[in-house]
């Protein structure tokens, strides 16, 4: 009995979601009177997760650098068999949408996807997630074991690693699922910052009027803030920004600490992708634009005047 956190890693380093989920799992486990374990694929430093609250880490060795959902599911299933958890927490990233439901089906258990909160209620872990493109929220509870939840990146704070070390259990696994092979990895068209897990996002809309303006007004602010760059569908459809920067119902879901929307009206489909952002800044020349109803701070002005000033002000910070 434990809460098993899938501590995702790349190139031997843990992703930020590993600490976020371990921190939350530690609090949930304390409320449930159980322990936290972690699952690691590949060669990331498993023992170090002890400093984030994992009592035991189950590690499946192998080369996972070429993403293959078949291998990931086989290895995770072997870890679950060894760890025998009651709850599995994983990030709501590509792997969370691609591999975790397949793992759940193999374990004949249900899954709550893309949670924006987790709590203990009635002695079990319950997730909170949005439906209908963010227009309704609901609790999801799972009666099969293990209960699988994926959680949006940036939902929980990252605890400090206290330097502790966890016992590491090497788990044997073998491949059995039909695989898909990678022919070519295409580099990101724009910034390499992962929008869905970015801590800050700067987004522009139709009002930018051209790719040149988008590149010379929005991207410099993104660079100054070291933020991911997003766009409304009107902007991606018009070619001002690449499609994979679209934020919204049919684009990416972001969950940053800071979301700056410049010249975006705030259509319901756009809100679907960013409404959980902690702080929302709206810059729009129309005081009645719906985005202002969701903004923490608003500036009613022409973005072509304000955004370059904002870039300068951010650059001037120490």
């Amino acid at each position: 009995m434990s809460i098993l956190v899938f501590a995702d890693s790349a190139n031997g380093a843990f992703k930020p979601t590993a600490a976020e989920l371990l921190g939350k799992a530690t609090a949930l486990a304390a409320a449930l009177g159980t322990t936290v374990t972690a699952a690691v694929l590949g060669d990331a430093p498993a023992a170090s997760l002890g400093g984030l609250g994992a009592a035991k880490v189950f590690q499946a060795a192998g080369d996972f650098s070429n993403y293959d959902n078949g291998a990931i599911v086989d290895a995770l299933a072997a870890i679950v068999a060894a760890a025998n958890p009651t709850v599995i927490l994983a990030p709501a990233s590509y792997i969370g949408r691609d591999a975790l439901p397949r793992l759940a089906a193999r374990l004949d258990t249900a899954m709550g996807s893309d949670c924006s909160d987790l709590k203990v209620e009635g002695g079990v872990v319950v997730g909170r997630r949005s439906e209908f493109a963010g227009r309704a929220y609901a609790d999801v509870s799972i009666s099969s074991t293990p209960a699988v939840f994926t959680v949006r990146p940036n939902t929980f704070p990252k605890p400090e690693n206290n330097g502790g070390s966890a016992e590491v259990v090497a788990v044997d696994w073998s491949a059995s699922t039909p695989t898909v092979s990678v022919v070519e990895t295409l580099a990101p068209e724009a910034t390499g910052i992962d929008l869905s897990s970015a801590g800050k996002v700067v987004a522009g809309g139709r009002s930018l009027k051209s790719k040149e303006n988008f590149d010379s007004v929005i991207r410099p602010l993104g660079a100054a803030l070291q933020a991911g760059v997003g766009a409304s569908r009107a902007a991606t459809d018009a070619g001002y920004a690449p499609h994979n920067e679209q934020v919204g119902q049919t684009g990416q879901t972001v969950n940053p600490q800071l979301y700056i929307a410049a010249g975006i009206s705030g259509a319901i489909q756009h809100l679907a992708g960013m409404r959980t952002s902690k702080v929302i800044v709206a810059i729009n020349k129309d005081p009645d634009a719906p985005i202002f109803q969701h903004a923490t701070y608003g500036i009613v002005a022409d973005l072509f005047d304000v955004v370059p000033e904002l870039t300068k002000a951010v650059e001037a910070l120490d």
Partner: protein, 258 residues
Amino acid sequence: MKIGVCAKISPHADARIKIKSDGSGVDTAGEKLVVGDYDEYAVEEAIRTKEAVGGDVTAFSVGPASDEKLIRSGALALGCDSAVLISGDDAEGAGALGTAKLLAAAIKEAGCEVVFTGKASTDGGSSQMGAMLAELLGWAHVSQVTEFALDGGNFKATRNMDAGVRQIVSGSLPAVITCEDGLNEPRYPKLPDIMKAKRKPLAKKSAGDYGVGAIAPTSNQSNYAPPPPRPPSRIIEGDAASAASELVRLLREEAKVL
């Protein structure tokens, strides 16, 4: 080739979402229902695949019997050849895993070699079905596909991953493909095709027909509520330069995000 597509009927993206007073769910009575946003890409890709390699397309859906009309207009009228609609309390309340079991049984019975689903449904949006189906069928799967082509028994697909990374992958059939926005340009139905679709075969099934038995849902939703309220917004006045520097100050000192 036997081609399958999973299409879920759900409220239109612009539908009003009324939360029931006891928080047990949402009431979408009277709102416009459609084939899901991503499912439109799945339907289109299934039809294009048929046009490229021959064969026929079956649309699969789990939902109320009243969805028949929308499956006819949203899938059969566009070029799917037949449909299977699985209805009844056992089916409609089966939860995602139970729904996957029903769809997998129907897909197996139809003998499909490739199945397209949406990346996410428009209502629940949990992005589970495609990968669950692939597991239950023992097939390969690729998620969030933006380009797809068949070459004999093999396929090539481009998938959208994290951090703007895209990958071209290959594999062999059978496979489940989950469709991403922009995979294709969905067609509109033509009036004569809407008429013809009324006579296309649509099998009405129940959970019992697949021997899956009564599926007790293992996931449960409760406490429905509107999105949590946000604090009232604060409008920053002044010319561009002073508003910008005041905003930066507030972001740093008050909101503590810089």
